[in-house]
C-alpha cells in the first residue's frame, strides 16, 4: 500500500544520536556493524527508506519499522549488497575444496556420494558456480558422485536457473577457459550453461520453513544458505536453523553470507574456522 511521499525537498536529517541508535539496532539484528566512516552510506539509505515509507523523520520511521516485517526486509535489502553473480564470495568455494570436502570425505566412511544444497539458489548463479568450481579445482571430483540440489521459494527464479542463461556481467569473474568448457555462446552477450551440467543439478521449489516432512531434503554434506536468513525475524531464523540442521548429515557444513553470522541465527551449530573461511558444522 503506497503512502503519500514526503513532499519536502530536503531528505530528513539523521542526527548523530539517530545514526548511533540505528547502528546499534542494525548490529543487534544482523551482526552488521556500521562505523562512523559509513555515516554517508547509512544516512542516504535510511533517508531513502524514510521517504519511501511516507514518514518525515527518523523516529516515526523507526516506530513503523519495528512493526512492519515488509519494511524490515526492504531496509535490509537497502543496507546490504544483493547482486548475485558467478563466483561471488569465491573464498567459500576455495574453502569448499581445500578444507570442507576433505573433512566431509573423512566422515563419509565408505560412501561415495556427496550431497550439496544451494538454498536459496535464486536464478542459479550459486549452484552453477559450485559445479564449475568443483569441476575445475577439486582433484577428486571424478572419484565421488556429487549431487547438487538447488532450491528456491521463487518459481520464476527457479525457471531462470533451469534455463541457465547469463550475461557477461554475471559471468565476469569466471575464467574464460572455464566458460569455454561449460557454457556456450548464445550471442548478444549471453552464454548458456551446457545441457549436461544443467541436467545434473536438481532444481526444486522449497520453503525452508516448510520442508521437514520432505525426505528430498535430507543428508546434505554441505549447505550454502547465503543472504537469506538476514531477512527473517528472530523466531523464524531459529526455525530456519532447525530446518537446516535437520536437513544435514552429521558432520555436515553450512556456509552463510559474507556478512552473516550464526550468532544472530541459531545455537545449534558448531563453529569451524578454516584458513579460507569461518563455517558452521552439525556435530558428528
Amino acid at each position: 500500500m503506497a503512502l503519500l511521499a514526503n513532499r519536502s525537498d530536503q531528505p530528513p536529517d539523521l542526527t548523530d544520536e539517530d545514526f548511533q541508535f540505528f547502528a546499534d539496532y542494525f548490529y543487534r539484528r544482523t551482526g552488521i556493524q556500521f562505523a562512523a566512516n559509513k555515516r554517508y552510506f547509512v544516512d542516504r539509505r535510511v533517508q531513502d527508506r524514510i521517504l519511501r515509507s511516507g514518514r518525515t523523520n527518523f523516529r516515526d520511521y523507526f516506530d513503523f519499522l519495528r512493526r512492519d516485517g515488509a519494511e524490515y526486509q526492504s531496509l535490509v535489502n537497502a543496507m546490504t549488497v544483493n547482486e548475485t553473480y558467478f563466483y561471488r564470495e569465491l573464498y567459500q568455494l576455495e574453502c569448499l575444496v581445500k578444507s570442507i570436502l576433505p573433512d566431509v570425505i573423512k566422515a563419509l566412511g565408505g560412501g561415495r556420494t556427496i550431497r550439496i544444497w544451494s538454498m536459496p539458489c535464486s536464478t542459479g548463479e550459486e549452484p552453477y558456480s559450485i559445479a564449475f568450481y568443483l569441476l575445475e579445482h577439486w582433484r577428486l571430483v571424478d572419484d565421488y558422485e556429487i549431487e547438487i540440489v538447488a532450491s528456491d521459494i521463487d518459481t520464476e527464479a527457479l525457471g531462470k536457473a533451469k534455463a541457465g542463461r547469463y550475461n557477461t556481467r554475471s559471468l565476469q569473474h569466471v575464467p574464460q577457459i572455464t566458460l569455454n568448457k561449460y557454457t556456450t555462446d548464445e550471442g548478444e552477450g549471453m552464454r548458456r550453461v551446457v545441457p549436461a551440467l544443467r541436467d545434473s543439478i536438481r532444481f526444486t521449489k522449497a520453503n525452508l520453513l516448510d520442508i521437514h516432512d520432505d525426505s528430498a531434503f535430507r543428508d546434505f554434506h554441505v549447505v550454502f544458505c547465503r543472504n537469506m536468513l538476514i531477512y527473517f525475524d528472530d523466531l523464524s531464523r531459529r526455525e530456519a536453523g532447525e530446518a537446516l540442521f535437520a536437513s544435514m548429515a552429521k558432520g555436515g557444513f553450512i556456509c552463510l553470507g559474507h556478512s552473516e553470522s550464526m550468532s544472530r541465527i541459531s545455537s545449534l551449530f558448531e563453529l569451524r574456522k578454516f584458513p579460507e573461511a569461518i563455517v558452521y558444522q552439525k556435530p558428528l
Binding site: 546499534d24 548490529y27 543487534r28 551482526g31 553470522s261 550464526m262 550468532s263 544472530r264 541459531s266 545455537s267 563453529l271 574456522k273 569461518i278
Partner: protein
C-alpha cells in the same frame, strides 16, 4: 596496546567496560553473545577476554568450554563478570575455564588493575583509595 574483547549482551555494560579500559590504554572490541565472541576470538588477536555468563545463543560457560578446547585460543586469559553470585556459579565458571570470577557490579579500578595484571601491562603503583 593490549587488545580486550568484551562479551556481554548488555550494550550499557559493554560501553562501561569500553570507556573504563580505553581510558586506561587498552584497545577494546565487543561481542554481544558467546558465539559472536567465539567468532571474533578465532579471527582476531586478543590479549584478554571479559565474559558475561547470561547471554542468548551461546552463554558464557559454553563460550569458555569452546575457548579451552580450541588449540589456537585456549591459552587466552578470561575474566568472568556476572550477576550470578552463588558459590556454585563461581565453581562452574572456573570448571568451564574462567581464570578470574567477579560478581557485578565491578569497581572500574579493579577491572583496570586485573586487566593490566592479566595482560602483562605495568600495574598501578600504590593501592587505589
Amino acid at each position: 596496546m593490549p587488545n580486550v574483547l568484551v562479551i556481554d549482551d548488555s550494550s550499557t555494560t559493554r560501553m562501561f567496560y569500553r570507556e573504563t579500559l580505553e581510558a586506561a590504554g587498552f584497545k577494546v572490541d565487543e561481542a554481544l553473545n558467546g558465539l559472536e565472541g567465539l567468532e571474533k576470538t578465532m579471527t582476531e588477536p586478543f590479549d584478554l577476554l571479559i565474559v558475561d555468563i547470561n547471554m542468548p545463543k551461546m552463554d558464557g560457560l559454553t563460550f569458555l568450554r569452546e575457548l579451552r578446547r580450541r588449540d589456537e585460543i585456549r591459552g587466552l586469559p578470561a575474566i568472568v563478570i556476572s550477576t550470578q553470585d552463588r558459590p556454585e556459579d563461581r565453581i562452574k565458571a572456573h570448571a568451564s575455564g574462567a581464570n578470574v570470577y567477579f560478581v557485578k557490579p565491578i569497581d572500574p579500578r579493579i577491572l583496570v588493575e586485573y586487566g593490566r595484571l592479566m595482560t602483562g601491562a605495568p600495574l598501578m603503583s600504590g593501592h587505589p583509595s
